[in-house]
Amino acid sequence: MPLGDFTPLLARPARAGRADGTGTAPPGRRRTGGLSAERLSPFVLIAPAVLVIVLFRLWPLLLGVNFSFTGDGERNGAAVGLDNYTELFADPLFLGALRNVGWLVLLLPIAVAIPGMLATFIYLHVPGHRFYRSVYFFPAVLSPVIVGSIFNLLLSFDGPVNSLLGLAGLGPVDWLGDSNVAMFTVVGVHVWATFGMSLVVFLSGFATLDPALLDAARSDGATLPQVIRHVIIPGLSRTIQFVFVTTMIGMLTSMFGLIYVMTSGGPGGSTYLPEYYIWIQQGQMNRPAFASAASTVLFLVMLVVGLAQVSFLRRTGKED
């Protein structure tokens, strides 16, 4: 029985890297005409996926970068060089959005440390750890729209959170109306909604940790902070790295729903993030080329932040 073009992955490791597309058919490819459908089968199986990804994901990326060097409105389609970028970096709203990205980077360690600590406690089997695992994870499945709507009710000026603060003798806080507070409120709600996701990732990282190390540390009389510092953090460095990067990407790309529902970028543009800025320029201002320039900048910011975090964590990981 001829095997056609179908050869299991592991059986032919020598050819694994070949992607050069030279015309010579490898031996064993010569088939009678009736088998040509079989010969093409890998390509048939992969064609829909490749078409969708190339047409609606990779092609738009190139198109967008190209598009960002053209004009909007009456200069529609004309090459304008770096004009969009110059205008972008002169816009206080966009600069505010970038400043907010800076805040996110500063708040990031907290957003990683909370699920990390909780995962540690759950891993060390605090009473009720199974219950906590599923309860903490549950907001992660809710839509930002639902989360934002619920917190709009809770955080309104005469809402429940402020009446609780009132009971404790603290004055009401204008959570969403004060431009110095609103960004932190939105980030706080985002952390509320997503820490369960990182927690579950941490827990799966703990599953790979050698329990013998913990026992050894314990029998040497290590305290909990010492165990965390010398066993858990080095042992989970890959997981920590992963959570850092995904949390940052999450903050940069999945807060649109919250901002849209909770503040619409306000008050006074204080809760703008680049993604919201792009949406406003594209949807409300009808400036797609200009929005593309902002997209390109967001992409570069994410690339830089991601690479910087990976290399930073690599270095600290090596010191341990």
Partner: protein
């Protein structure tokens, strides 16, 4: 571990409070949905004395919510079906078939995984508009498929690569073509992964608001999440009805979570630890 028992209870206290903070916002919303406007304004915290469903009925019938709900169901069903089909086909080909360019294709998929939607959304919507796909169900379905397919392929390929090549060989010897192997071996054996990734994709699509806002501008095509944001304007003074709308959008998600908790967490971590 025994010596640490007391401190473990000290940790458990704050953890219980946090669990309460996680659950309570939803309890508050559900409770608000069960009250009259008067009761809500008089006392936000008190539990509703009777379960009143008329706010839910109002939110469902008068605000177009029913229509948005079915728009969402249509789009999610279409997107998940295509994601599972394309994802399992490509995942099988990339994990068990050797062909020219397969490595490059796998790398391309992984690269696409790291392109956020915000970066491509402007040109994507233009492309969709040029092809007449904006404001149509197939257009939004395709946008979701494009968005979540790299992740689906990646998970399916890593799941399938754990299936031993010998099983596939045996099926070939029994006279199956590649398509037969896909249909008779890979689809049935991949059921656990298909279920996990299907549930996760359904949640992603159901919960999305940005792609839906861009791709479905007209009111009649709104998805439920976009509908909820418009409810807020309509019922800003009628919190119980607004809370009912939020609840209608959240209940399917909660049901899915209760049924498939483990699978969702597994799919999330399967995508993470190997990444």
């Amino acid at each position: 571990m025994r010596g640490a028992r007391i401190s473990r209870w000290l940790i458990a206290g704050p953890m219980a409070l946090l669990a309460l903070a996680t659950i309570y916002p939803l309890v508050f919303t559900a409770n608000a949905a069960m009250k009259t406007r008067r009761d809500y304004i008089l006392d936000r915290f008190a539990f509703a004395d009777t379960l009143r469903w008329d706010n839910i009925a109002t939110a469902w019938t008068t605000a177009g919510t029913a229509r948005y709900f079915f728009n969402s169901v249509t789009v999610v069903a279409g997107a998940v079906a295509l994601l599972l089909l394309f994802g399992s086909m490509a995942g099988f080909a990339l994990s068990h078939l050797r062909f020219r360019g397969s490595r490059a294709l796998m790398l391309g998929c992984l690269a696409a995984l790291f392109v956020p939607f915000q970066v491509i959304m402007v040109p994507l919507v233009r492309t969709m508009a040029d092809t007449g796909l904006v404001d149509t169900y197939p257009g939004l379905i395709l946008a979701y498929v494009a968005q979540y397919l790299p992740f689906t392929i990646y998970l399916m390929a890593s799941y399938y690569s754990a299936i031993p090549a010998e099983i596939v060989d045996a099926a070939r010897i029994d006279g199956n073509t590649t398509y037969g192997v896909y249909r008779r071996i890979m689809l049935p054996m991949g059921r656990p992964a298909l279920l996990s990734v299907g549930v996760l994709n359904a949640l992603f699509c159901w919960n999305d608001v940005l792609i839906a806002l861009l791709m479905m501008p007209s009111a009649e095509h709104r998805t439920l999440m976009v509908g909820v944001t418009s409810l807020r304007g309509q019922y800003s003074a009628d919190i119980p009805t607004f809370a009912s709308g939020v609840l209608i959008a959240a209940v399917p998600v909660l049901a899915v979570y209760l049924f498939f908790q483990r699978r969702i967490a597994d799919a999330v971590t399967a995508g993470s630890t190997k990444g």
